[in-house]
């Protein structure tokens, strides 16, 4: 062993000299001598190959030969590895190694809306011209940590902005003469949804804005490529050059991961997606899309439950994720989803290996782990001719371990990078974990060493543990202790020489009376066997809690299925000619209302006795902001390009709570920050499904507009953005619709026109292919928008909120606009001073299609009560009142062909109520969407019990883990920010 270490030292001298170098040598003379280095007797591990015992020859930083045996020539330096293990260096695809993150102080300050750069794209957060190599500076300490865990090559990037430019693939070796660390300057291009810290340009303020921006940038790059532009756009030019590079998208949550994949799909790009480590929550989509996941290993730590009141604050979701996270890689593997492994997100690199081994314990095969760290990332970066395995002509990037890497106690002894050797762990080359005993009748001493500790963990006297103090003296160690039953009073001192072999330790014992004895402690082979046996037991695959849909409280074990249901003897609120009719039956089949009638029967249908109960069609909320990760893109006064469909959050518990309130369909609207908002998502509340599966497929296109105090930024903003008055709002519309018409001309006459997704959307509005739902309060502006629409030849479909609608009900009727209003909200701002709860009644009586909406996650689950208020205030009949939350919103959304009433052939979106559905005493007992039972009061009871049981079990498990010494994290409760129209969330 000493020999090996000496060689390592000599080797350093030689490897600095390589042929064909053109770097001047300033601190001495250039050596002309190139050494061949032969690594002998190694177990060579390659991904997807069987390990074999062989030799490996390195010359000028490359592997020149690899074989079972290579004959030694006289110009070789040979190193006998004596059965040690060689692995190709691991490759990290998403690294920030050697890059200093930018700081806010470096940012250019603009007015918040315009771009601050010259000659670059119109948005500061698009920075494809950035190249990591310009910022790269080797960090020795950081490199050492990475080399220690097996990483020898990293793909590092400048972590700033949405399009972050190109990453550089670098070896973890310090530039020295001919050794240059950059393997490829532009190895991949990197994206994220996070804005640059170097600019205060607001747009995009939301994830959906970031997504729209990425789309438009790609379109602009395509256009720029094919057109002679009068000016140069350095950002687009850089982006065009990167088209064929591997594309890496960095995300930090599972929904963003799906969003990235979705954009990529639209533009024919298969992003390599850095995920959040909980990919098992979205397996079905990931399997379908087939993107490679760059998976982190930053498993959540167990929770610190220091206080009894704190335990219940940890959500089941968090507990489950903690419990399930180590199974992530196994589940990706089982579902044939390709993945690589990254250190990204690990705050302590030393936990990399233990977490990787944990993943293996949970069922990830070792060979898959190895490939996902070596050959696969190499292939993905198209650098597999250089890195990723140990073959001739590849870079000499490999590391040496004492025992196989995937053994718990293995150590990386040395790491060779481009032929240069980093000597990492010389002191630990001997792994002496085990028990050593002095077989002397006067001194029945034993020492026990743990797997990772250099010092003894236990000192035994006659097999009894005794206390000791430990001191490291260079490579030797001393222990000071007292022997309880000894005749000699005082301290014993024990000197342990640095171990030379595993079989025995040389020790010197100084007794209290000053005598010194040399003793030998011999390894107890039986002890090791006992331990090995324990390890065997450990190999049993650990259990983890089942993944539910969604993976949180009230998630389903399996998604509800389409079944045949026969609901008997209900009072039916048909919203059709039949009106409200007692003792009626409804047969649900294939997701549709199959049959309505008296005394229906059906073989093999599940019978639901609804005697004394009421059955209605599902409630439709025309104005909702639940199930969304964002509400407002507030960066521009028109954001017609953003889509609420991009930011669906199917894990929002309010979906389940809305189902429990009888809601089955919602319009997920953009907020009211801008005169022209974003595109709506019309959703069915299919709890447990993937985001895109919630979309109401047959629904037409909608967009949010807004008027009044919010769009003119009455209580916020710096006053720069137009408009700041209602007068300006009108001009915004006229200007944008004119732009849309001009765009149409261009589109029709110029085959190489620049596609603009914002203007495309606006054109759809002008051409009546997309409907408007307009946030509105006072009569003047309501009237204005109708006049603007008439000027451009289209109709405003819906005014939402519309609290002064009653003042212009006649005009609305004439124009053909519908109304979707609150039942009784007012007094929250100046423009609702004249809002009255009789609004819906007047509008309804004037023949305007009128709906009652929520704009609120709490109210939405009681919309039946809100509908009933139209009886109190507006004097509506019960039947008409009920339609304000069912058929009327269906009409406003143009989906009344499918939902909104109980009619044969319509979707079986139905609610069974315990009582008169407009009464305060009514509870939704069963809620069907597409004939599937998504909410059931009985099932809810069961789910509550299951949640409690699982939660208690997991809290116990987290307690056990923290008591067994695992590092823990504090309990942090997430308080949801409930979103309304005017929720402004800034993506940081």
């Amino acid at each position: 062993m000493r020999n090996l270490l000496t060689y390592f030292g000599i080797l350093l001298l030689f490897t600095t000299a390589k042929a064909q170098e053109y770097f001047p040598k300033n601190d001495g003379v250039k050596s002309r001598y190139d050494a061949y280095t032969l690594y002998q007797n190694a177990i060579i591990h390659n991904p997807n190959e069987k390990p074999f015992k062989g030799d490996l020859l390195v010359f000028k930083g490359k592997i020149v030969k690899i074989a079972k045996q290579i004959a030694v020539e006289d110009n070789y330096i040979s190193i006998n590895l004596d059965g040690k293990h060689l692995y190709p260096s691991f490759i990290d695809l998403t690294s920030e190694f050697g890059i200093k993150k930018p700081t806010k102080e470096q940012a250019k300050k603009g007015n918040g809306y315009d771009a601050t750069r010259t000659g670059h794209y119109w948005n500061d957060h698009i920075r494809p011209e950035t190249n990591a190599s310009h910022f790269f500076e080797y960090e020795e300490e950081e490199a050492k940590k990475l080399l220690q865990i097996g990483f020898g090559v990293v793909n590092t990037h400048y972590p700033d902005g949405i399009m972050r430019g190109t990453s550089s693939l670098v070896s973890l070796v310090k530039n020295q003469g001919a050794i240059q660390s950059i393997i490829k300057k532009k190895a991949s291009t990197v994206l994220s949804f996070d804005k640059s810290i170097l600019s205060n340009q607001m747009y995009p303020t939301s994830t959906m804005g970031a997504m729209a921006l990425i789309r438009q940038t790609y379109l602009d790059a395509n256009w720029y490529k094919n057109n002679i532009s009068d000016y140069q756009d350095l950002a687009l030019e850089a982006l065009i050059k990167q088209e064929n590079l591997p594309q890496i998208f960095i995300t930090d949550n599972g929904l963003d991961e799906l969003r990235a994949i979705k954009i990529g799909e639209e533009f024919g790009k298969k992003y390599l997606v850095k995920g959040n480590g909980f990919e098992f929550e979205n397996l079905s989509t990931l399997r379908k899309m087939g993107n490679t996941i760059i998976a982190p290993l930053d498993f959540p730590k167990p929770y610190t439950i220091s206080h009894p009141h704190v335990a219940e604050k940890i959500s089941l979701k968090k507990l489950k994720r903690w419990d399930q996270a180590p199974a992530n890689l196994m589940l990706l593997y089982k579902n044939e989803i390709p993945f690589t492994i990254t250190t990204h997100g690990l705050d302590d690199l030393s936990s990399f290996k233990s977490n990787l081994l944990l993943a293996i314990k949970y069922g990830l095969p070792q060979e898959v782990a190895l490939a996902s760290l070596t050959s696969l990332p190499a292939k993905l970066l198209r650098q597999n001719n250089k890195i990723g395995s140990l073959h001739t002509e590849k870079l000499a990037n490999f590391f040496i371990t004492d025992t196989p890497y995937f053994n718990e106690n293995s150590n990386v002894l040395a790491h060779v990078v481009q032929g240069k050797l980093h000597n990492l762990n010389a002191l630990e080359t001997l792994n002496i974990a085990g028990k050593y005993s002095v077989n002397h009748k006067d001194f029945p001493l034993s020492l026990v060493y743990g797997p990772e500790k250099k010092q003894p963990t236990k000192l035994l006297w006659n097999e009894e543990e005794i206390d000791f103090k430990h001191k490291q003296l260079g490579k030797d160690q001393t222990l000071v202790f007292e022997i309880p039953e000894s005749n000699e009073m005082g301290m014993y001192r024990l000197l342990i020489e640095a171990p030379r072999e595993k079989k025995r330790l040389n020790i010197w014992l100084n007794t209290p009376n000053g005598k010194q004895r040399k003793l030998t402690a011999v390894r107890d082979e039986n002890f090791k066997k006992k331990q090995a046996k324990n390890e065997q037991e450990d190999l049993e695959k650990p259990n983890f809690s089942p993944i539910s849909f969604p993976n949180m409280a009230y998630g389903f074990k399996t998604l509800p299925e389409t079944k045949k249901f026969l609901i008997k003897n209900a009072t039916l609120w048909t919203n059709e000619e039949l009106g409200i009719i007692e003792n009626y039956d409804v047969l649900i089949k294939d997701g549709l209302i199959h049959k309505i009638g008296r005394d229906l029967s059906s073989r093999n249908a599940i019978i639901i006795d609804a005697t004394g109960k009421h059955l209605t069609s599902g409630i439709i909320d025309e104005h909702s902001h639940i199930a969304a990760s964002a509400v407002n893109e507030a960066g521009h006064n028109s954001t017609a390009e953003v889509q609420m469909e991009d930011v669906i959050d199917p894990t929002d518990i309010n979906i389940y709570r809305n189902l429990a309130g009888g809601v089955t369909t919602i319009q997920l609207l953009h907020g009211s920050a801008n005169p022209i908002g974003g595109q709506s998502a019309i959703l069915k509340l299919r709890w447990g499904h993937q985001p895109d599966e919630l979309i109401f497929k047959q629904a037409p296109k909608f967009i949010k507009f807004a008027l009044g105090e919010n769009v003119k930024q009455s209580n916020w903003g710096n006053g720069y953005r137009f408009p700041q008055t209602r007068m300006g709002v009108e001009q915004v519309y006229i200007d944008y619709f004119n732009q849309a018409l001009a765009y149409e001309q261009e589109k029709n006459n110029n085959s190489t026109y620049r596609k603009d997704i914002e203007l495309e959307t606006l054109l759809e509005i002008v051409r009546s292919k997309r409907f408007i739902s307009c946030h509105s309060y006072v009569q003047s502006e309501i009237n204005m928008l109708m006049k603007v629409a008439e000027q451009f030849g289209f109709t405003v479909n819906t005014f939402t909120h519309i609290l002064e609608g009653y003042k212009v009900a006649d005009k609305m009727k004439k124009h053909g606009a519908g109304a979707s209003t609150f039942s009784d909200w007012w007094a929250y701002k100046y423009e609702v001073n004249d809002a009255i709860p009789y609004n819906a009644g007047i509008l309804h009586n004037q023949g305007v299609v009128t709906a009652i909406n929520s704009d609120d996650a709490e109210m939405s689950r009681r919309l039946n009560q809100e509908a009933a208020k139209t009886i109190k205030y507006g004097g509506l009949s019960e039947e008409d009142a009920w339609k304000t939350v069912t058929l009327n919103p269906a009409k406003l959304l143009h989906i009344d062909k499918y939902v909104g009433s109980i009619k044969e052939g319509k979707h079986a979106d139905l609610v069974l109520w315990s009582d008169h559905p407009l009464s305060i005493y009514a509870k939704a007992e069963k809620t069907f969407v597409d004939g599937k039972l998504y909410f059931d009061l009985e099932k809810d009871k069961l789910l509550r019990a299951q949640n409690n049981t699982l939660k208690n079990k997991l809290i116990q498990k987290t307690l056990d883990a923290s008591q067994s010494g695992s590092e823990t994290q504090d309990v942090v409760e997430d308080e949801k920010i409930l979103m309304h129209c005017d929720t402004l969330e800034e993506r940081i």
Partner: protein, 435 residues
């Protein structure tokens, strides 16, 4: 000429009253006895009389019984036939900020939150705007009495109870400066605001510090003797009556830790009257609260559960659970848009009936129980002979949106207008389209 002059003046005066003063004129003092006959009477303490008769004179209830019973009518009694209708005591809304803010988004109209931390001397009553458009909108829903409560700080200030049909605050109050509102320190602190979520974590160190500070403040107040000091402490003067039971201490608190510490605080400082406002996690301490005779004002049931894992109906059933555990429970409306939503108080109670209470028990939450908690139950909150004739007639079940349609309302026997800024706009535009 003269007569023309006076007539035109009258017309001008009349126009002036209509166009400038949109608010309703308070009802005149009761002159004639009134007898309401044939309605279903809900007395607010659990009792129901079908086909009832209730008489009141000089603002006081003089008779309650069956309609067919022979009981003499006072002379000049005005009889109101109310067959198939319902009579209720006026609803009482505690912990409200009615009349302190007119429009949430207009800063100039906000008077609910004074700057500073320990402000027991701040009095809500003098800022209470009797002519608020929001206040008048309470009456058509049966909400006739309110506690006007300041917000913010550790001790927000002193509240008063008012009736909602008055010329000014001096006419309005029925329990003046009756309580002090204290926001108990929070066990949890916000640590960040990322990802659309507020991150909250336990911070016992700071919590203990704040509780100690608070306890010390009350110890000082308790030992305060005005005569021994040169300058009066207006703050301690305001706190002092809390120790004699002349003022109620309303402590806003929700979590277990807070409630456990409030129990200790009551015992240590020997404060006779404490009410917990909020009490989201009070169920865990129900028996202790009962023993300490601490009532709970449960936050409006029309709220969302605080955590994903909770039962979807947790806020719907909390008042029921606490009632069934033997506590004195009321309902309070604080939260987003609390002022304009205070008129939904009956529907908050109705929701409690949907989730476990009987309808009369649910009614009691917002009548007799709230009145007890505000210390006005000797005269308000229930229909009993000798008590104030503060009541209303509704066409149907007043806890249900469909039935809550008031035909008459009386405060201290005065017939109260059920017109509001909103009903006037309704009438105006209804007529516009008729033409």
């Amino acid at each position: 000429m003269k007569s023309f002059h006076s007539t035109s003046l009258l017309i001008i005066l009349l126009l002036f009253t209509i166009s400038v003063k949109a608010q309703q004129t308070p009802g005149a003092i009761q002159k004639n006895a009134i007898s309401i006959q044939g309605a279903t009477l809900h007395n607010g303490k659990g009792g129901v009389i079908k086909n009832s008769r209730i008489d009141f004179n000089n603002g006081k209830i003089t008779y309650i019984g069956q309609n067919n019973e022979k009981h003499p009518l006072a002379t000049d009694t005005k009889i109101i036939k109310a067959n198939n209708q319902h009579i209720y005591p006026g609803f009482v809304v505690p912990n409200s900020t009615l009349g302190l803010v007119e429009i949430d988004a207009v800063k100039a109209s906000k008077d609910e939150n004074e700057t500073g931390s320990f402000l027991p001397h701040i009095r809500s009553l003098i800022a209470y705007n009797t002519e608020s458009k929001v206040v008048e909108s309470m009456r058509p829903n049966g909400v006739l009495i309110a506690e006007i409560t300041p917000r913010g700080g550790r001790i927000s200030g002193t509240s008063s109870v008012v009736q909602l049909d008055a010329w000014n605050w001096e006419d309005a109050y029925i329990n003046k400066d009756h309580g002090i509102h204290l926001n108990w320190p929070s066990v949890y602190k916000r640590i960040s605001h990322l990802d659309k979520k507020k991150k909250i974590t336990q911070d016992l160190e700071n919590y203990t510090k704040e509780v100690n500070k608070l306890t010390f403040y009350f110890e000082q107040a308790k030992s305060y003797r005005s005569k021994e000091i040169g300058t009066k402490s207006i703050a301690f003067e305001a706190v002092k009556p809390v120790f004699s039971g002349n003022k109620t201490l309303y402590i806003h608190a929700n979590t277990k830790q807070q409630i456990a510490d409030i129990l200790l605080f009551k015992e240590e400082l020997q404060i006779p009257k404490i009410v917990v406002v909020g009490g989201y996690e009070a169920l865990s301490f129900a028996s202790e609260l009962k023993k300490a005779q601490i009532p709970v004002l449960v936050n409006r049931p029309h709220s969302l559960p605080r955590q994903d894992d909770e039962d979807y109906d947790a806020p719907f059933k909390l008042a029921t659970q606490l009632t069934q555990a033997g506590l004195l429970v009321g309902l309070e409306p604080s939260g987003d848009m609390e002022r304009m939503n205070a008129r939904n108080l009956p529907f908050y109670a109705g929701t409690c009936a949907a989730y476990g209470l009987s309808k009369e028990e649910a009614l009691q939450l917002i009548t007799y129980n709230n009145a007890q908690i505000l210390g006005i139950n000797s005269n308000y909150g229930s229909l009993e002979v000798g008590k104030s004739a503060t009541l209303f007639i509704s066409e149907g079940d007043a806890l249900d949106m469909r039935g809550n349609k008031l035909t008459h309302a009386f405060i201290d026997g005065r017939a109260v207008s059920l017109k509001t800024h909103q009903t006037k706009l309704y009438d105006r535009y209804k007529n516009k389209y008729k033409k």
